[in-house]
């Protein structure tokens, strides 16, 4: 299993039966492939739908059925369609159990930056600020370091924030880290990775328990 698949699998373990979940574009969406048997998670697409189903087979795409990333989707039994104002009422109003988003940076206070690099990339926040503000649990899923090997888990974000102090869990290819009032707690590490390697790849201080669990072995 590659890194990204491993992250997807670990995200999926965060969901309980009946959870309403919104997955960000990219890496987080891999979680849909690993929802355990017997657990039904209801996925929202913020353009205005609940009970999003998998991508349709080629040739079966419906032009009126896309997710927030523009990809074609299908509907599962129990689906509902509504306008985007109601969709964000659901999000902002605290009715979504969990959202999973990628990050450019996340820090020890649970701050998240994922929507712009000044002067370079300004895609806009889309629905991310509302999701991070409103979802009951905000999970960041990302590779632990950036393409040049630099830490993305920082003492303090220096890119423009998406929201302040909203992240509660960080899932990467190296570790699972919980954001607590005391700071970042290293809960799990990936197989074949040492605590020292995680610490070295993390700018923020990590609170390290005596025996961190291996990723996925502890579950939720």
């Amino acid at each position: 299993m590659d890194k990204r698949e491993m992250i997807g699998k670990r995200i999926a373990q965060e969901f309980k039966d009946g959870d309403y979940v919104n997955l960000g574009i990219g890496l987080p969406t891999l979680a849909v492939n690993y929802i355990p048997e017997g657990i039904r998670v209801i996925f929202q697409s913020e353009n205005g739908m609940l009970c999003v189903g998998p991508s349709p087979d080629e040739g079966c795409e419906d032009k009126d059925m896309i997710n927030a990333g523009g990809g074609f989707i299908s509907e599962l039994k129990g689906a509902s369609f509504f306008d985007s104002a109601l969709s964000f009422a659901i999000i902002r109003g605290g009715h979504i159990d969990a959202t999973v988003l990628g990050a450019l940076q996340v820090d020890a206070q649970g701050n998240l930056a994922n929507w712009m690099i000044p002067g370079k990339m300004v895609p806009g926040m889309g629905g991310a600020m509302d999701l991070v503000t409103g979802a009951r649990k905000v999970i960041v899923a990302m590779e632990h370091v950036d393409k040049r090997g630099n830490p993305k888990i920082l003492k303090e974000c220096n890119l423009p924030l998406t929201a302040k102090a909203k992240v509660s869990l960080i899932i990467t290819d190296m570790a699972v880290i919980e954001v607590t009032p005391e700071g970042l707690v290293l809960k799990e590490i990936a197989a074949g990775i040492t605590v020292a390697e995680v610490v070295a790849a993390t700018e923020a201080e990590l609170i390290v328990p005596e025996h961190p669990h291996m990723i996925g072995s502890f579950g939720q």
């Binding site: 509907e75 985007s84 969709s87 300004v122 806009g124 926040m125 509302d130 302040k164």
Partner: protein, 221 residues
Amino acid sequence: MRKQISAKEAAAMIPAGSRLAIGGFLAVGAPECIIDAIVEAKTPDLHMIVIASDWEDKGVGKLIAAKQIKSAQVSHLGTNRTIQAQMNAGEIDIELVPQGTLMERVRACGAGLGGILTPTGLGTVVEEGKQILTVEGKDYILEPAICSDFALVKAWMADRMGNLVFRKTARNSNPIMAMAGKITIVEAEHIVEVGDLDPELIACPGVFVNYIVQSTEVTNG
């Protein structure tokens, strides 16, 4: 009854410098025929209120590519390099608005509200220059209503009173944008007689709609 007009007639109603609230999400549910007609009409200096800037060759992306958009209130530009280049070159004035905030601000206009108090954007650049109000111990940003000269929306079906039925995720911002136009023009795939629509399915009553355009876009419905 609402008058049926051509996409060209719709475009001709829109003067240079108009504010346009345009429905659709990544060009799904976008009024493509009306947009094409505005491109054809070369109407300049438009202000655009839209969820996303779509793709260069689809939805509002076509207006951007034709350099007809002077300014925009929008939540996402990530699928359109042209608008990002125009922004960096100072050719277009962009107010980035969180998507949920954008929907509420547009809805507020349509609903006669002056604005709403939202927690979205607190502690970020979004709050800069805005009034922060505390209600029952919690902080909120005061976000004013966004109104528009024209709303251009897309429906699956319209009856001749302008009652609209949407299809699947093509509903998205359309019923909201429709509320906020001084004049609202709908592009419908199917135009039907009054009485042909299930009254429980109408997600945008005709009271919000002024003109109907027959769409020639092919979709699945």
